[in-house]
Every structure is written in structure tokens, then in C-alpha cells.
Amino acid sequence: MSTTRIKLALMFGFIIVSCLMQSVSAWAEEARPLQENAAVEAQVQRLSEELRCLVCQNQTLSDSNSGLAEDLRQEIREMAAKGMSDKAIIDYLVVRYGDFVRYRPPLKSTTALLWFGPFAMLLAGGVILFVTLRRREKMATEAPLSADEARKVSELLDKES
């Protein structure tokens, strides 16, 4: 009686352990693609923060819920999974949607004003400031006292003493 019980218990235990082992090995098999996906996902995330959603133009692809943004994220994911570089993926989208998809516009003749405009303004402001200060300095030093003013000054100084 007791031996059959022990046998049954052993068998039951064996089944449970083998079930557990199987599920563990199943996890192990799934873990590998998950790791690969992490790199892909990181690339998708990085790129979709750099790219503009054309439908809602003040959002990045990663912020936007529009259908096109979802499609493009999927497209980027597939390209990333194929091992394409960031540059290759951005080029793919620029060919289709133009430089406007990039939140960091490239330096070109058409974007020169955008890139250098602020510095040119700063320089102009600096020059204006310098010239104005110079002129003021000259005015302050070069205005001599008139005879009347000189008399008033000496009068006041005399009073003091």
C-alpha cells in the first residue's frame, strides 16, 4: 500500500518537474529574440525621436498616435531588424518625405540662414553695442566745460571749503 503511494508520489513529482523544466526551456528559447529586439527597439526609439510626424507636424514619430506615425515606426522597426544603420533609415525617409522629416536639418544652401542666422544676429548686435558704447565714451570725454560752467564749478568748490 505505502509503496504504491510512494511510487505515485514520485511519478507525480516527476511530471511536475518535467513540466517546469519544459516551460523553463521554452522561456530560454524565447529569450534570445527578445534580446535582439531590445537593440532593435532602442534603435526604433532613438530614430523616432529624431523624426517628425508629417501629419501632426509638431510631434516626433515617437510622440504621435497618427496612423502614418504607427506605420512609419513599423517600417523603421523592420528596417532596423534587417540591420540597417541609422543613416540608411533616415535617408530612406528623406527620399520620400524630404528633409522636413528630420528634426535636425542638414547644413545646405537652403538651410544656411537657419543655421547661421542667429549667429549673424548676435554678431550684428555686438557690433551695434560696441559702436554705441564707443560713441558715448567719446561724448563723455570730449565735451569741455564752457566758461560759465567752469565758473559755477569753482564757485561751488569754494563754498564747500
Partner: protein, 175 residues
């Protein structure tokens, strides 16, 4: 007097820039595809999914490629214009049904009328991405050698048709 002249001139320059900026439509992104060959595709036809439609079939003629969908509001605005254009026979109009269901698309054509010689079905929007579609409707003018000559983003208006598309099409047809 001179003291006020310089700020005044600067003020008007800034106003000029702002006025131009305000009148630009930020949705009109210049397409890098203009002047390039129309991207190739072969998609099932909406009316008969057994048959395939491809820009290759249209080589040798100037044609309009209109991206539309049954869910698209602005497509209803341009629909009468497309109907009249297709009736006039000036230029063949082909369509692409973008991210839609076949049933709804067919229903919409049946109700509103079908201006297209044929429509391709781009249900997952893949070909739309190749064409840089981001706001339906969009219309491309494609020349005899298969190069995109013009892209209209948003609905075609009477004005755009008369002053841009039709003169362009006539010019391309005589080439």
C-alpha cells in the same frame, strides 16, 4: 529723424518676414519626389483584386495619380472636380485607395461616382510610404516617361486644376 528711421526700417523688415511666414502653408512640404521616377508598385485592382495595376502600364502617356480613401473628408471636396475632369477625357485619372477597406471603398464609389479608370488598393499603406503620402488626398502628375512632374497635397481646387495641373498636363502631352 535718423534715430527713428533705422528702427522703423528694421521693424518693417521683420514685419515683412512674419507676413510671408504667416502666409506659407506649413502642410505644403515640398516633395523630394518631384522630378524623380514614380516609385514602382504592383497592387491589386479595387474592382477586380485578381488583376494587378502598376505604373508600368501607364508609360507613354501623361496621367494623374490620385490617392484617396472612403474615410477621407477632403476627398469629398475634390470629388466633383475629378468627376468633371475624367468626363472631359483630357487626362486619364488613376486612383489609389489608401488604408481603407475594399467594401467601404466600393460603396463610396458607387454612391459618389467613380472618376477613375482604375484604382489600386494600398490597404496597409506601404506604397503610400514610397510615394511620401502623409495627407490624403494627394495627386501626382506623372509624365510619359514615368517621372513625377507635380504633387498636389490636399484637395484639388478649381484654381489649382485650371492654373497648375491642366497647363502642366497640356505641356507634357505635347512633349
Amino acid at each position: 529723424m535718423k534715430r527713428f528711421l533705422v528702427p522703423l526700417v528694421l521693424f518693417f523688415i521683420v514685419v515683412g518676414f512674419l507676413a510671408v511666414g504667416l502666409n506659407l502653408d506649413p502642410r505644403e512640404v515640398p516633395s523630394p519626389l518631384v522630378g524623380k521616377p514614380a516609385p514602382m508598385f504592383s497592387l491589386p485592382r479595387l474592382d477586380d483584386p485578381e488583376k494587378v495595376i502598376s505604373p508600368k502600364d501607364m508609360l507613354g502617356q501623361v496621367w494623374l495619380f490620385n490617392v484617396w480613401a472612403s474615410w477621407c473628408g477632403a476627398c469629398k471636396d475634390e470629388h466633383p472636380i475629378l468627376m468633371a475632369l475624367s468626363k472631359s477625357g483630357v487626362v486619364p485619372v488613376y486612383g489609389m485607395d489608401y488604408k481603407d477597406t475594399r467594401q467601404e471603398a466600393l460603396q463610396w464609389l458607387e454612391h459618389g461616382g467613380n472618376p477613375y479608370i482604375a484604382s489600386a488598393m494600398d490597404m496597409d499603406g506601404r506604397v503610400g510610404i514610397d510615394y511620401g503620402v502623409y495627407g490624403v488626398p494627394e495627386t501626382y502628375v506623372i509624365d510619359k516617361s514615368g517621372v513625377i512632374a507635380y504633387k498636389q497635397i490636399g484637395a484639388i481646387t478649381e484654381d489649382v486644376l485650371r492654373n497648375k495641373i491642366l497647363p502642366l498636363v497640356k505641356g507634357l502631352q505635347t512633349q
